[in-house]
Amino acid sequence: MPMTQAEAGLPALDAQGVSKRFGAVVALRDAALTVRRGEVVALMGANGAGKSTFVKILTGALRRDGGDVRIRGQDTHLASPAGARAAGLIPVYQEPSLIRDLDVADNLRLGRTPADPFLHWVRELGIPDLRLDDRAGDLPLATLRVLDLARALAAEPDVLMLDEMTAALPTDLVERVLRVVRGQADGGRAVIYISHRFAEIAQICDRATVLRDGATVGDLPIEPGVEDRVVELMLGAALTPAAARDGGPRAMTGEPRLHVRGLSSGARLADVSFDLHRGEVLGVVALEGQGQDELFEVLAGQRRASGGTIEIEGRPQRFRHPADAIAAGLSFVPGDRADALLMVRSVRENIALPILAPLRRWGAIPMRTEGARVASAIERLQIDTRAQGEVRRLSGGNQQKVTIGRWVAGEVRTLLLFDPTRGIDVRTKRQIYGLVRDLADQGASILYYTSELPEIPQACDRVVVIFNGRVVEILDVAEATEERLMRAAYGLTSPEGRRAVAGAGRA
């Protein structure tokens, strides 16, 4: 690409002070990222740091509220994905973006990608036997991701953005991808590399830019031992030992209520085993997409396991429908409240729903009993009921309370909470921790996935850390400092994790 003298000295991409809010929630305060020609820069941040919002803004999928984004020194609006492309920034998204039902040649034509350079890159990336008349949907996931990369490379971008590029790739392809990406930078392009994998970052990146709480908090050159600095930055300055809640963990003895061995499902959940006892809150920590979604879905009866066993109080279980899991005493609160709530119905109907599900409850509703039950759930969870008519009018925190209250209104035995405090205010969070402890004290068992590490000591007795679809660490809450959890979540501590990092993926 020809460039003027002035352009040559400017960073390929320079984003400063980018901010974005969604209603009352501030997703980005002050995000910054600078990438020069010839550089690969890692963009890092823990879950909820604002990384995905930042990526969406840079790729034109979202509009920023404030800040500057300059590409080759020119202020760009990035109003749409097409606008970002035109400005010279080409992303490769985490999910494949070829049209499944078209063959590869048609996909190229649709995106106006020249075929020859595309095929060159496909061969270079290690897919020798690709045929242009293969239907995209028939190709394996790993191939699709590589094709996305080849398509981006064929467009000769100024700035290449790769989002978790090596996820779902077998080891040999990972090696080739890393080599090609490094080669792009050496050839004078700028690359933004988003990844959770330190091994890869160490191999190809020049710098790492770290986001925390919607702001850029550090920009470090990659050198030996940088992992610890990055982890520190991601966690924030306050690396004080966690203030554990009162009482400490109790000793867990006897038969576990939930006994999971070797559970696997789909491409992401490989091999997860753990026990959950009566009266215990077991925390689950994992970076995004490490198999925790699949784990909870399998336990909730939403998804079939492809291997492994689930036992509840000694009896093996096989769930074909969420109703089976509920009958076995497993109640699931999904991460996205929109998946769990009847948004246009009332608080009362939402809370009473599971009670009415079985065939034998289809008749007259005992209105008074139901009313009392719902009222006690509302009272217990302190749900603000000023807007009872439609649940969607409640605040996020109150909505979350309704989804939990639905199960508390009945007899809860085992509660599966998936990131129950995502996007809700601090006061409500506290109430939820308190409720979780209360329920456990009354004998309920709780599996508690959270994307926020500081919650672990407040709510949990033990923690399992999952990386790459496997349990890499099980800790008592007393030993589970944030740093230790974070290192484990990045696969940096356990031998198993290290092996996984070294392998950098699964075949």
């Binding site: 994905p81 097409a82 492309r85 998204y93 494949p96 973006s97 070829l98 049209i99 499944r100 039902d101 078209l102 048609d106 996909n107 034509r109 649709l110 995106g111 106006r112 045929r131 008349d133 293969d134 239907r135 028939d138 079939r304």
Partner: protein, 324 residues
């Protein structure tokens, strides 16, 4: 590659099934021959166009329940204009009817885009609207069709230099059908618009990321469906000689043929060849039942059942795929 084979396997299977059914017809009635095929294809013509129209919209991820009503509008418009304007104006009338079809389809599409209602709701409402329009144009069956135009779909297609016996098995109506569909579909299938239609049906998000303008593409798909429905209406007028304001049983037959023809109701998958073969198969089944002197009403039941079963199987298959 086996994948390519598997992809066209469904269409090949349909072709084989059609051949087997034709053979069966011949066995049941030894007299079945060229003229039998000719009347079969001619009767299938409106069904084929209705199916093609629906298929385009379904590929784009929508559904158009107003296909039969749009055909009725086209049919009565053609019949009324041909009767009043005389033979000289036939070609302009045909062009006008096709334009009306495109306009009706585009209105459907624009309403889907603009109201943001599900396709099925908008086109259900438009089913009533177009039906009403047809009734306003012509209260009862009437009008006329230009005779030479009618001859276009009657009889065998003569090829100079070939004996009549050889061309007898090539009905004009089949040539008309193939010609019209090829004219509309082949350039489209290879164009960016055609690819965009598949893309928005398959995965709107990915299509958007590839730079496809979703709204205009959707409107275009409905417009093409309108054009094909207008062709269907014309063929209806040509084969009966009059305009018919009450829509025939084309919608459900088209849904069944589209599903049987390998077009997924979830969008993005399939072509026109499969659905057209499916239309012919359904017509031959009807013919066989008639030849077996099954009560025509029982024939309706059997047809309805085949359609319902096809749609239900399609639903089950789609569900299995989603699970896998």
């Amino acid at each position: 590659m086996t994948r390519t084979l598997r992809r066209s396997g469904w269409v090949l299977g349909l072709a084989a099934l059609l051949a087997a059914l034709l053979l069966l017809t011949k066995l049941i009635q030894p007299g079945f021959g060229a003229s039998g095929i000719e009347s079969l294809v001619r009767a299938a013509l409106p069904f084929a166009f209705a199916t093609a129209a629906l298929a385009v919209v379904v590929i784009a991820g929508g559904i158009d329940l107003s296909v039969a009503s749009m055909m009725a509008v086209a049919s009565v418009t053609a019949a009324v204009l041909m009767e009043s304007a005389g033979e000289a104006a036939t070609v302009p009338v045909v062009l006008l009817v096709l334009l009306v079809g495109i306009a009706m389809g585009a209105i459907n599409g624009a309403l889907v885009v603009w109201t943001r209602l599900p396709d099925i709701v908008v086109t259900l409402a438009m089913l009533f609207v177009w039906e009403g329009v047809a009734l306003l144009i012509l209260q009862a069956p009437g009008g006329a069709a230009t005779p030479w135009l009618r001859q276009l779909i009657v009889g065998p297609f003569p090829i100079p230099g070939l004996p009549e016996g050889a061309t007898a098995f090539l009905p004009k109506s089949l040539v008309v059908l193939v010609f019209c569909l090829a004219l509309v579909w082949l350039p489209l299938r290879r164009s960016r618009l055609g690819l965009s239609i598949y893309a928005i049906g398959s995965d709107p998000t990915a299509a958007f990321r590839s730079g496809v303008a979703i709204g205009p593409t959707r409107i275009a798909a409905y417009g093409i469906a309108g054009l094909l429905a207008a062709l269907g209406g014309l063929s209806l007028t040509l084969s009966t000689g009059i305009g018919e304001p009450i829509p025939g049983p084309y919608l459900l037959a088209a849904v069944a043929a589209v599903v049987l023809g390998g077009v997924a109701l979830t969008g993005g998958r399939g072509g026109l060849l499969g659905p057209i073969l499916a239309v012919l198969i359904l017509r031959v089944v009807r013919l066989i039942l008639t030849l077996l002197s099954v009560d025509p009403n029982v024939t309706t039941i059997i047809e309805g059942t085949i359609m319902a079963v096809v749609v239900m199987l399609g639903g089950l298959l789609a569900m299995r795929e989603r699970r896998a």
